[in-house]
């Protein structure tokens, strides 16, 4: 065997080894929590939707609700702004100092440790403005470092649309915006959707940025009939303190008292890991589905 061939074999084997190790670790994590949770009887509807309890395993209903609430609220802010930012950067901005600055801050903000963003949120919402721990504060902290990421992903998806397609529209005497709206965006949607779902996975799993912003208070139960959006006791209000699943896990592990802490934490972790997995798998599936729908094949 020639040396090149040996080196090639070695590299291939190493990469396979690494890939298998990564998959094994991933499966291990999932299996560990799912098995632990199942053993503790924590993978049941009553665990998912029930209220927390001190005397039995109880449920994580309100906490799961908060996770979804914060996710939806964050996405409501992030998606339109992210797509608008992506369109601006891909289609309108002229390369120059401004775009260089925007790109630099995009990268910087995305790489700031999320706990720092959380502390900034604490200073802003809780201390300075005395609004306190709220779902809104948590969502805004999440927006801070997910918006630049989504804007970047949207920009890349828009840039990936071939020039011929845009020019085809412009050659018919349509405006720039009409071209973006009717030709470029539909072609970029699969990529943007993938970006949104990957972002959603990150948001759903985030803990550090939320500890200081949406808070740690564990609600015993929620009164879903309270629809007053300005009442911090209403679960529908953006002003209600909202412990999410990831924060809850952190809290149980660090200060959890009571008999069933271990089981509840394992159950919550299993739910979290499965949800994030579902996000990622559906990102690929949905992206591919849209691609096929759009190409009409």
């Amino acid at each position: 065997m020639s040396r090149v061939l040996v080196a090639d074999r070695l590299a291939t084997a190493t990469l396979w080894g690494i890939a298998i190790a990564v998959v094994a670790v991933l499966l291990g994590i999932i299996a560990h929590f799912v098995l632990a949770a199942a053993g503790a009887g924590a993978l049941s509807p009553s665990f998912l939707f029930g209220n927390p309890s001190d005397t039995e395993i109880g449920g994580i209903g309100p906490i799961l609700f908060n996770s979804v609430y914060v996710l939806v609220l964050t996405l409501l802010i992030t998606i339109p702004l992210g797509i608008a930012g992506g369109i601006y950067m891909a289609e309108y901005a002229r390369e120059g100092r401004l775009t260089a600055l925007i790109r630099f801050s995009q990268e910087l903000i995305s790489s700031v440790p999320s706990i720092v963003v959380g502390m900034f949120g604490l200073a802003l919402f809780v201390s300075a403005t005395r609004i306190g721990y709220t779902a809104l504060g948590g969502s805004l902290a999440l927006v801070v470092f997910n918006l630049p990421l989504l804007a970047r992903l949207a920009e890349q998806a828009i840039r990936a649309v071939p020039a011929d397609e845009r020019h085809g529209s412009l050659a018919l005497g349509t405006s720039r915006w009409q071209t973006i709206r009717h030709v470029v965006l539909p072609l970029a949607i699969p990529g943007i959707v993938t970006g949104i779902i990957l972002t959603a996975g990150r948001i759903f799993g985030e803990a550090a940025a939320l500890i200081f912003t949406s808070g740690l208070a564990t609600p015993a139960r929620y009164d879903f009939s309270n629809l007053d959006l300005l009442d911090a006791r209403s679960p529908w209000s953006p002003l209600h303190p909202a412990t999410t699943l990831s924060v809850y896990i952190w809290k149980l592990n660090s200060e959890g008292l009571g008999q069933f802490v271990r089981q509840i934490a394992d159950g919550s972790a299993a739910v979290l890991v499965l949800m994030v997995l579902v996000f990622n798998v559906s990102a690929r599936g949905l992206g591919r589905l849209l691609q096929r729908r759009i190409s009409g094949a």
């Binding site: 020019h167 085809g168 529209s169 005497g173 009717h182 539909p186 759009i294 190409s295």
Partner: protein
């Protein structure tokens, strides 16, 4: 068009082109690859505006009006001068929506009117019979290459231009699809002024009334060698360069 030069950054791609295109005729642009045929074609509808770094100088008149004058909007101009691309580029939408795309953007919303435009344009583009049954269900992208290119022609006709530019419209197609496009051009010449770039000289001699031969100099800048009746260019050209090119390719 007179004194037209085009630069891409510092590179001069085309120098001092002067030519006239008679209305309701087919003019073919031929010449070696890279001599600037596409670049010149794009001067007629200001598509060079969209290319970063591209700069056009000189005058281009359409019906006596300078299309590069500040008062002329490129968007308006492109409704009068359509362009069919080398690679078929239908939009990711139904066949019907592809055809009425231009009219819709220009404010036509009446259903009957759009239906009529779609049928008329598709008939003109010789595509109607093949697609009339799933106009709204089938995506433009699901058609064959030749059908896609005819769809792009229908889409261009639908905005009712005066001039149709075609940049090697058949180069990505098989011989049968190519033949259909050529037949189509012959039918369209009655109503439109057509300029077609082609690398295929038989095609130029088959479809065009007049032929312009371009080549490039030592500095790689393209220029017009001559423009004359197609028959003359192919049988008895004035310039030796043209003669060499034609015989080189045919012989």
């Amino acid at each position: 068009m007179s004194d037209v030069s085009v630069h891409y950054g510092a590179f001069r791609a085309v120098r001092d082109v002067a030519l006239a295109i008679p209305p309701n005729s087919v003019t073919a642009f031929i010449g070696p690859s890279g001599c600037g045929k596409s670049t010149i074609l794009r001067c007629f509808d200001r598509m060079n505006d969209l290319i970063p770094g591209a700069r056009v100088s000189g005058r281009v008149l359409l019906d006596g009006e300078d299309i590069n004058a500040p008062a002329v909007q490129a968007v308006e101009l492109r409704r009068r001068v359509g362009l069919v691309f080398q690679r078929p580029n239908p939009f990711p939408m139904s066949i019907f929506e592809n055809v009425v795309y231009g009219p819709r953007r220009h404010g036509v919303s009446d259903r009957r009117e759009l239906d009529a435009i779609a049928e008329r344009s598709l008939r003109r583009a010789a595509l109607w019979d093949e697609v009339k049954d799933d106009l709204r269900r089938k995506s433009g992208l699901a058609l064959s290459g030749g059908q896609q290119q005819r769809l792009c022609i229908a889409r261009t006709i639908a905005v009712d231009p005066e001039v149709i530019l075609m940049d090697e419209p058949a180069s990505a197609l098989d011989p049968i699809a190519t033949l259909r496009i050529e037949e189509l051009i012959a039918e369209l010449r009655a109503e439109y002024t057509i300029v077609i770039v082609t690398h295929n000289m038989q095609q130029a001699s088959r479809v065009s009334d007049r032929t312009a031969f371009f080549t490039m100099g030592q500095d790689r800048a393209g220029y017009l060698v001559e423009l004359d009746d197609t028959v003359k260019i192919f049988t008895n050209p004035r310039e030796q360069l043209t003669e060499d090119y034609i015989s080189g390719r045919f012989g």
